[in-house]
Symmetry: C2
Subunit: 157 residues, 2 copies
Amino acid sequence: MDPLSTPARLRRRATWLLGQSSNQGHRLISERMHTAGVANRSYYSLLAALSEVGATSQADLGRRVGLDRSDVTAVVTDLEAKGYLERTADPADRRRNLVRITVEGEKFLVLLDAEVGAAQEDLLSPLSPQEREQLIGMLVRIVEHHTGLRLSDTTER
Amino acid sequence: MDPLSTPARLRRRATWLLGQSSNQGHRLISERMHTAGVANRSYYSLLAALSEVGATSQADLGRRVGLDRSDVTAVVTDLEAKGYLERTADPADRRRNLVRITVEGEKFLVLLDAEVGAAQEDLLSPLSPQEREQLIGMLVRIVEHHTGLRLSDTTER
DNA sequence: AACGAAACGTTGGTGAGACCAACGATAACC
DNA sequence: GGTTATCGTTGGTCTCACCAACGTTTCGTT
């Protein structure tokens, strides 16, 4: 019996293919995040945002990475316990917690970054370098169109 | 204050872009499924598989669309109540339920198909027709590579 | 023919992720 | 100065994917 093929109506639908590809990508990332010692990819997102933007509030972090404030609380608590960030009351605005990444946090981020990069390599392995650029370019346009986000490298520093 | 940009480390990652695009696609599909009167896209998948393959068992359906047997039970029960399929004991194998799509089911599938097609159009609107073909082709290769599925149009009827 | 292994549909449950509501505390607005 | 808004936190809900177990039925091997 043949591998029980997916309905033809689905096989070439962009939404279905994007879902499948996205699942594969997330599976690859999750595996590597777990072996690196964190539960999911929000840990990576938060550390990345923190390293990029410097000390900031939890609410600001959440907005940047698309996480709810309540979920930010949990991840930040965990990252603080692991010593990867510091959480102090903001003297300038006592509603806020000032969160800043630690030296160990930066080191850990470098590690996670390598894992995430390797996962990209795995996922896109069937594509040539030019194709990968094409794919990413088209996805950027789709995401920009539907979210209003500006993702282009206006200043890549 | 600028729109609080996503961390640069994420913005051009294929996994992140695929996740965002996939979410947009699923959002568009979900909206249309809801207004069409079904809860989620498994209704569409199951009807599509059923129309394509003819009468078959629930377990077979589940394997084709990637649904757990328990979840198939729920959706099939609902679709039967709506009159879109019939579920009878298989005389040749009394463990099985023989499920077959009804005339109303076929009509409903045509409707859902149009909705799903329109969602593709929405999602891919920033891309030219050639680009859409390129995108789909690359995604097909990624999915085939990571799942072992064969999605190519070996026989497009 | 018999017996263990496997597949079927169903029920009930688990875990993760995204989201929402409300709270007390604090700041911003007019 | 009084209302409105934002902050972090707690404690939910909902959906999805998945797993476990069950009684029933069939298959495979001897």
